[in-house]
C-alpha cells in the first residue's frame, strides 16, 4: 500500500512532493526523519503537504512515503485521562521519548497497546450485529463504562466472542464473514461519525455558574460561543465549565494557547475532584494541548481530533461537553496554511472557506440517537478571541451565525473585577424558551418569571444609568433609586461569582433559585416600605441587605440564608415596611 515519492519544494510548514499518487487528506511521512504530514492540495503530478512538525533542514529530493490513510485517531479504552497533542500523540509518552522539549520525527500511538483491559462481552454467538452495536464493555475508569462498539461500516453475525483480559489490538470478536473486531477502531478525524437521528436538545447543561445557568442557559447538545478580548476571563470561564458541567465526559482542547496556562490545566485537572462522584475529574476527561508555539498544522488538526473523540463517547450514549480554547487560533492556523498555499484570501486574509469549516465543526455537536439506539449528546463551547475585542471580525461573526448561545465577555467588567465578566445586556441564549418547561418542572414553577424579572430590572438599570451619567443618582426619584439598588444587588450578589472561592465556585440550581428569590423578596418588601413612606436611606442601610451579599460564600448556605431572611423580616417590621 505504501507509495514512495520525493520532496520537490519546502517552504515553512508546507512541502510540495511528487510521485506519491495521493488522495486528498492522505497522511504521509516526509523526509528521512519521517515527519508527519497531510496532503491538502493536488495539482497534476505535484501535491502539497502540510507538515505537522518543524521542517528546518529538510531538503528537496528527500523521500516521502504515502501510507494511503487519512489522518485518523485511535478510539478505544484508554482515551480517558490522556493528554494529547493536536494529532493524538500522548504528551507523556513524548516526554519519555525525547525530554522536555518536543523534537520532531517521533511517533507515538494514541492508545496504550500493551495495557490489558478486562473485556466483558454482551453478545453471544449467532447474534446479529451492525454498525454501532455494543458487543461488550470495559470498565475504563471507576465511573465510566466503555462500550465496545462495532465500527459504523461493519455488520454481520457473531461467530466467535471472547471475554477476559485483552489488549486493544487483540481480536475479541469474529463475524461469520471473517471480519475480526478488536476493542480499538480507527476513524478519520475530518469525517463526522454517523448517528441514527438528530434530536432536539431539551435539557439544560448545568454548569453551576449563576449567570450561565440562570440567565443564559445552553442545552445539552447545543452550541455556545464565548468571545472576549484578552484578559476578560475567557479561559477561566472555559475551565470552570470543564470542571463543573454535569456531563459524563469532558474533552478540553487547548488550541494555540499559552503553555503556562496549559500547564496549569494539566496540573490542576488531575487533582480536581468530580463534584458528583468524588473521584478525580481527570477520570472522565480527555485533554488536548497544542500550545501556540507547537506546529501550526497540528493546531489546525487538534479541533478535529477532539471532536472525533467526543463523537465516539457520544455514540456510547454519554453526554459529552467539548471546550475549544480558542477557535480563533484554529482559524488563524487555517489562514496561515491557506496563505502558504497562495490561495485567494477572503476577509482579513482568512480563507474563503472559513465560514464553511466553522459551521461543519459546530454541526458535529448535537443531541443524537446513536446507531445503537442510545441517546447521547455533544455540547460544543468555543472560545473566540476577537482581535482588539472587536466583535465584527470574521471569526466572531461567522461563529455567531451558527451558535445558539452567546456569552459576551466584557473587558470593562473584568477591569472592575466583576467576574465572570459576562455582559448581561449583550449576551443571549436561544434556548431560554425551549428549556422553560424543564426549569418549571425541575427548579421551581416561578423560576422563569423570577429570571425574566431580573433581566428586566438589569435592562432598566442600564437605561437609568444613562440618566445618572447626566444628572447624578440623587436627582432620581426614590423608586428609581431603589431599582438601581436592586439591580446592583442582582449584579453583585447573584451574577458575580468567585471561581477561586471553594464554596462559591459552584452554585447548584437550588441555591441559585433561593438566592434570586431572596433578592426578589427584598425588592418586594423595599418597594412596599417605600410606598408606605419609609425613607430610602433607611432601606438601603439595612444590615440584612449587606449580609445577603455574603451568604453565597457560606458553607452552610441554607442556615445562613434563613438567618438573613429572618433578619430581613424583623428589620422591615422595625422600619415599618409591612
Amino acid at each position: 500500500m505504501e507509495i514512495k515519492g520525493e520532496i520537490y519544494r519546502v517552504a515553512g510548514p508546507v512541502a510540495m512532493v511528487t510521485g506519491i499518487n495521493p488522495r486528498m487528506y492522505d497522511v504521509v511521512k516526509v523526509g528521512h526523519e519521517g515527519l508527519m504530514g497531510e496532503v491538502i492540495k493536488i495539482e497534476g503530478k505535484k501535491s502539497t503537504v502540510q507538515v505537522y512538525e518543524d521542517t528546518s533542514g529538510i531538503k528537496p529530493g528527500e523521500p516521502v512515503i504515502n501510507a494511503g490513510m487519512p489522518l485518523s485517531v485511535e478510539l478505544g479504552p484508554g482515551l480517558l485521562e490522556s493528554i494529547y497533542d493536536g494529532i493524538q500523540r500522548p504528551l507523556q509518552v513524548l516526554q519519555e521519548k525525547m525530554g522536555d522539549f518536543i523534537e520532531r520525527g517521533v511517533t507515538a500511538s494514541g492508545l496504550n497497546h500493551e495495557k490489558l483491559w478486562d473485556f466483558k462481552p454482551t453478545v453471544s454467538v449467532g447474534d446479529k450485529v451492525k454498525g454501532g452495536s455494543v458487543i461488550g464493555t470495559v470498565q475504563e475508569t471507576m465511573n465510566i463504562e466503555h462500550k465496545i462498539m462495532v465500527p459504523p461500516n461493519v455488520s454481520g453475525t457473531v461467530s466467535e466472542i471472547k471475554g477476559g483480559e485483552f489488549t486493544v489490538d487483540d481480536t475479541i470478536c469474529l463475524l461469520s464473514d471473517g471480519t475480526e473486531l478488536s476493542m480499538m477502531q480507527k476513524w478519520p478525524v475530518r469525517v463526522p461519525r454517523p448517528s441514527a437521528k438528530k434530536l432536539m436538545p431539551n435539557k439544560p447543561l448545568i454548569t453551576g455558574q449563576r449567570i450561565l445557568d440562570g440567565l443564559f442557559p445552553v442545552a445539552k447538545g447545543g452550541t455556545a460561543a464565548i468571545p472576549g478580548p484578552f484578559g476578560s476571563g475567557k479561559t477561566v470561564t472555559q475551565q470552570q465549565l470543564a470542571k463543573w458541567s454535569d456531563t459524563d465526559i469532558v474533552v478540553y482542547i487547548g488550541c494555540g494557547e499559552r503553555g503556562n496556562e496549559m500547564a496549569d490545566v494539566l496540573n490542576e485537572f488531575p487533582e480536581l475532584e468530580d463534584p458528583k462522584t468524588g473521584r478525580p475529574l481527570m477520570e472522565r476527561t480527555v485533554l488536548i494541548a497544542n500550545t501556540s508555539n507547537m506546529p501550526v498544522a497540528a493546531r489546525e488538526a487538534s479541533v478535529y481530533t477532539g471532536i472525533t473523540i467526543a463523537e465516539y463517547y457520544r455514540d456510547m450514549g454519554y453526554d459529552v461537553s467539548l471546550m475549544a480554547d480558542s477557535t480563533s487560533r484554529w482559524a488563524e492556523a487555517m489562514r496561515e496554511i491557506s496563505s502558504r498555499l497562495e490561495e485567494m484570501p477572503g476577509e482579513e486574509g482568512y480563507p474563503a472557506y472559513l465560514s464553511a469549516r466553522l459551521s461543519e465543526f459546530y454541526e458535529r455537536s448535537g443531541c443524537v440517537k446513536s446507531l445503537s439506539g442510545d441517546e447521547g449528546s455533544i455540547t460544543v463551547i468555543g472560545a473566540v478571541s476577537p482581535p482588539g475585542g472587536d466583535f465584527s471580525e470574521p471569526v466572531t461573526q461567522n461563529t455567531l451565525r451558527i451558535v445558539k448561545v452567546f456569552w459576551a465577555l466584557d473587558a470593562k467588567l473584568s477591569q472592575r473585577r466583576h467576574f465572570p465578566s459576562i455582559n448581561w445586556l449583550t449576551s443571549y441564549s436561544l434556548y431560554s424558551k425551549s428549556l422553560s418547561d424543564w426549569f418549571g418542572k425541575n427548579v421551581a414553577t416561578d423560576w422563569v418569571d423570577l429570571r425574566d424579572n431580573s433581566m428586566e430590572l438589569l435592562q432598566k438599570e442600564a437605561e437609568l444609568q444613562e440618566i445618572v451619567q447626566l444628572v447624578g443618582s440623587d436627582a432620581l426619584p426614590e423608586d428609581q433609586q431603589l431599582t438601581l439598588e436592586i439591580a446592583r444587588m442582582i449584579r453583585e450578589y447573584f451574577l458575580q461569582q468567585n471561581a477561586f472561592h471553594p464554596v462559591d465556585t459552584y452554585c447548584a440550581f437550588d441555591k441559585q433559585y433561593k438566592l434570586l428569590k431572596a433578592i426578589s423578596k427584598f425588592s418586594d418588601m423595599a418597594t412596599a416600605a417605600l410606598e408606605s413612606g419609609v425613607p430610602m436611606t433607611d432601606i438601603i442601610t439595612l444590615e440584612s441587605k449587606d449580609e445577603l451579599a455574603k451568604v453565597k460564600f457560606e458553607e452552610d448556605f441554607e442556615t445562613a440564608l434563613n438567618t438573613v431572611l429572618k433578619k430581613m423580616d424583623n428589620e422591615f417590621a422595625r422600619i415599618g415596611g409591612k
Binding site: D100, M262, N293, V296, A333
Partner: protein
C-alpha cells in the same frame, strides 16, 4: 559542503534567488561572499529543485550576481557558554565589546523546540519588583511573560531598568542573570541601558545583544531568538534564574512585516503577516519553568503601542500570548506620576498563583481586588464630576472620588530608586483603603479587616 554557487538570478530587497543548486535544506544558514571580500549571512526561506530563496541578515547592499553563495548544511546556531555573562554581542551574536569570540560550550539551535506542556511547571514563585503597581496589583511570577505596553515618549525604559535592578525572589539566594536584547532601538537608548547596567554592576550578570536602529532590519528577526537561546542555556543547563528583557517588540514586528512584503506574501491586518501570532508565540512561549529543573526563564518585553492604540495588531496579538500586560499611561505621565502605570487595563494572569499566604500575604488578593474596584469607580465618578460638579455627588461617592486621587498619589507614585517590599506595598494599600468607610470594603473578608485595617490595629 563548501561548494560556492554563483547562480544568483534575482536580488530583491533582503532576498536573493538562486538556481541550479544541489538540494538545500529549509532554514539552512548561508554565507554570501561579496566581490569585495566581505561575508554576509543569510537563511534559506524557500527551497525547491529549481530555485532557492535566501534572506540576507546584513542586508543585500553591495551584493551582485558575482557574489558567491555557500550553503553550510546547518541551521543557525549560537555558541553558548557561561562566559557570555558580562559580554556585549551584536544582534547576530558577534562580540561588540572588543573581547574574544565566545568559546562555545555548546552550539544551540536558535529556533528553540517547543516545550512539552506536560513538562512545564505552572509558575508560582513571587518576584518582588519593588514597584507597588506591579507587586500589589499585577504580580509577576517566575517563568511568566509579562510585557510593558507603552507609547513613544513614556518612561518604559526607566521602569524596565528599575525592575531589572530590583527584581528578586524574597528569601532566596539563587543565581540570577539578565539577558537583554535590543531590537532596532536608537543608539542613545542603548547607551542609556548600558550605562545603567555598568553603574549598578548589573552587567556582570548580564548578556547583551544589540541590534540598533541603523542595523539591518532582517537581523532583528534573529536577535530575540539568539537572546532566548542564551537565556534557555543559562537557565536549563546552569540552573540560573534568567530575566529576559526584549525591547522593542514593535520594531521586531515591523521587521517581520518588511520581510513579508519582500517575499510578496498575502498581508493580514494592517499589512502584518498572517502568521504574526504564531511567530510572536515562538518568542514569548520560550518562557517558563520545567519540572525538576532549577532554572527559569522570565520575560519582560517592552512594546510601544503605535498611536497608544491597544487594539493595534502588535499589542493585540501580544496580549493574547503573554500572561498579562503592564500598561503605561500617558495621562498619568502628564500628571507627573512615576511610574505612570495604569492598573485598570493592566493584568497579570498568573498573579493568583503567586500570591497569598506563604507567598506574599493572606489578604493580598482581597486588597488588590478592592483597590481595583475602588479606583475603577473613582474614575467613573471623575467623568461624572466633570459634568455635574462635585457638589452633586453623594457623600459616599465623594469619598470614592478622593480615594482615586489617593490611589494615584500614594500607591502608584513612588521614587525611581524606591524599592518597596511587599509588606510596604500592602501597608500603603491599607492606609489609603482606610480612608473609605468600612462598609465600602465589600471585597475584603471581615477577618482581614480585623487583622490589617489600621483602625483595628492595637485592639
Amino acid at each position: 559542503m563548501t561548494k560556492e554557487y554563483k547562480t544568483i538570478v534575482e536580488i530583491s530587497g533582503p532576498l536573493i534567488f538562486l538556481e541550479k543548486t544541489e538540494p538545500v535544506g529549509y532554514g539552512e544558514l548561508v554565507h554570501i561572499n561579496l566581490p569585495d571580500g566581505t561575508t554576509k549571512r543569510g537563511q534559506v526561506l524557500d527551497t525547491s529543485a529549481d530555485i532557492v530563496v535566501v534572506q540576507v541578515f546584513e542586508g543585500t547592499g553591495g551584493l551582485n550576481d558575482e557574489s558567491g553563495v555557500v550553503f553550510t548544511g546547518e541551521t543557525i546556531k549560537l555558541s553558548v557558554s557561561k562566559d557570555m555573562l558580562g559580554r556585549i554581542l551584536s544582534g547576530s551574536g558577534d562580540p561588540l565589546d572588543g573581547g574574544p569570540r565566545i568559546v562555545p560550550e555548546k552550539m544551540a539551535d536558535i529556533i528553540g523546540a517547543a516545550m512539552n506542556p506536560y513538562s512545564r511547571m505552572p509558575p508560582e514563585d513571587f518576584i518582588q519588583t519593588g514597584i507597588s503597581t506591579i507587586d500589589g496589583t499585577n504580580t509577576l511570577v517566575r517563568g511568566q511573560k509579562l510585557p510593558i505596553f507603552s507609547g513613544s515618549g513614556l518612561p518604559h525604559n526607566e521602569i524596565a531598568l528599575q525592575i531589572a535592578r530590583q527584581a528578586k525572589v524574597v528569601g532566596s539566594e539563587e543565581e540570577f542573570a539578565v539577558v537583554f536584547a535590543a531590537m532596532g532601538i536608537t543608539n542613545e537608548e542603548a547607551q542609556y541601558f548600558m550605562e545603567d547596567f555598568e553603574k549598578t554592576g548589573a552587567l556582570e550578570r548580564a548578556v547583551v545583544f544589540l541590534n540598533l536602529a541603523d542595523d539591518p532590519a532582517v537581523e532583528r528577526i534573529i536577535t530575540p531568538r539568539m537572546a532566548l537561546t542564551a537565556a534557555e542555556y543559562l537557565a536549563y543547563e546552569h540552573d540560573m534564574h534568567v530575566l529576559v528583557i526584549l525591547t522593542d517588540i514593535t520594531n521586531y514586528c515591523e521587521a517581520l512585516r518588511q520581510m513579508g512584503a519582500a517575499r510578496e506574501e498575502v498581508p493580514g491586518r494592517r499589512g502584518y503577516p498572517g502568521y504574526m501570532y504564531t511567530d510572536l508565540a515562538s518568542l514569548y512561549e520560550r518562557a517558563g519553568v520545567i519540572k525538576g529543573n532549577k532554572g527559569t526563564v522570565t520575560q519582560f518585553s517592552i512594546l510601544t503601542m503605535p498611536g497608544d492604540d491597544i487594539t493595534h495588531p502588535i499589542p493585540d496579538l501580544s496580549g493574547y500570548i503573554t500572561e498579562g500586560q503592564i500598561v503605561v499611561s500617558r495621562e498619568l505621565h502628564r500628571k507627573g506620576i512615576y511610574p505612570p502605570i495604569n492598573v485598570l487595563p493592566s493584568l497579570s494572569r498568573l498573579m493568583n498563583s503567586g500570591i497569598g499566604e506563604g507567598k506574599t500575604r493572606d489578604d493580598h488578593k482581597a486588597v488588590s481586588d478592592q483597590l481595583y474596584a475602588g479606583y475603577a469607580e473613582g474614575l467613573d465618578l471623575r467623568g461624572l464630576v466633570a459634568i455635574v460638579g462635585k457638589e452633586a455627588l453623594s457623600e459616599r461617592d465623594q469619598k470614592i472620588l478622593e480615594f482615586a486621587d489617593l490611589f494615584e498619589d500614594r500607591f502608584v507614585r513612588q521614587g525611581r530608586d524606591e524599592d518597596r517590599s511587599i509588606e510596604d506595598t500592602l501597608k500603603v494599600a491599607w492606609d489609603i483603603l482606610s480612608e473609605l468607610p468600612e462598609a465600602q470594603l465589600s471585597r475584603i473578608d471581615n477577618k482581614f479587616i480585623d487583622k490589617y485595617h489600621p483602625a483595628h490595629q492595637g485592639k
